[in-house]
């Protein structure tokens, strides 16, 4: 699966730290860092909505699809 999470890029642009963002959108620091480090398996629309509202961005700014190469799982 090749969905890349570019959360750190947008956070840097908006000069927001992980803990600030976590408290703004109401999810735990642990969950947010799971998302940031690419370990998450799924994201709820409500979470995506809260992140985009807090960072004033589009989902495409945060999520990026990279096609898998031939033969990769």
């Amino acid at each position: 699966m090749a969905i890349i999470v570019n959360l750190d890029v947008v956070m840097a642009k908006r000069k927001v730290t992980l803990s600030e963002l976590a408290s703004q959108i109401g999810i735990t620091l642990a969950n947010l860092s799971i998302l940031k480090t690419g370990k998450a398996k799924a994201i709820r629309f409500s979470t995506l909505d809260a992140i985009c509202r807090a960072l004033d961005c589009q989902p495409g700014d945060i999520l990026e699809y990279v096609p898998d190469e031939e033969g990769e799982v």
Partner: protein, 153 residues
């Protein structure tokens, strides 16, 4: 599992499990004497069956103790409100293996020291073994779903 969470019930179940475990250990230790005592009182019992019965009860007793031990371990994860973990899948598989071994021992007993109860117990422990295998698979699928859910932000 709110029922086992109330102070009264979970305490009672834990005490029962502890009682069965300790009682089992005490019975196994006393086997050389209790089997002899019991055989002397049986009308159809003969003392030449003593070695077989002693070995039989040792084997099934220790296997039953293994089952109760694994049950106590699963129960502790219930108290921690986190029962869906791979350890419990392994515990259930060990319970299944122990049940099947006890059933096999009872099948052997059918040919050496038979009774109605022996046949029934052989069937009961076979069913218990299959039940544990199915439960292990249920837990395994539950763990998979839980891990997916835990990683959903």
């Amino acid at each position: 599992m709110q029922r086992l969470d109330e102070k009264g019930l979970s305490g009672i179940v834990k005490r029962f499990l502890d009682l069965i475990f300790l009682g089992g250990i005490a019975i196994i230790i006393s086997l050389p004497w209790s089997v002899k005592w019991y055989l002397e009182r049986l009308i159809f019992g003969t003392s030449e069956k003593y070695p077989f019965l002693l070995g039989f009860f040792y084997v099934t007793g220790i296997l039953a103790l293994v089952i109760v031990y694994e049950m106590r371990r699963i129960f502790k994860t219930l108290n921690r409100k986190n029962p869906f973990m791979m350890d419990n899948v392994k515990s259930l598989k060990r319970i299944a293996v122990a049940s099947f071994l006890i059933a096999a021992a009872y099948v052997v007993k059918i040919f050496t020291f038979n009774s109605f109860l022996t046949i029934i117990l052989a069937m009961v422990f076979t069913i218990a073994g299959f039940f544990s295998i199915i439960l292990a698979e249920v837990f395994y699928q539950a763990v998979t779903v839980k891990e997916e859910n835990d990683l959903t932000i």
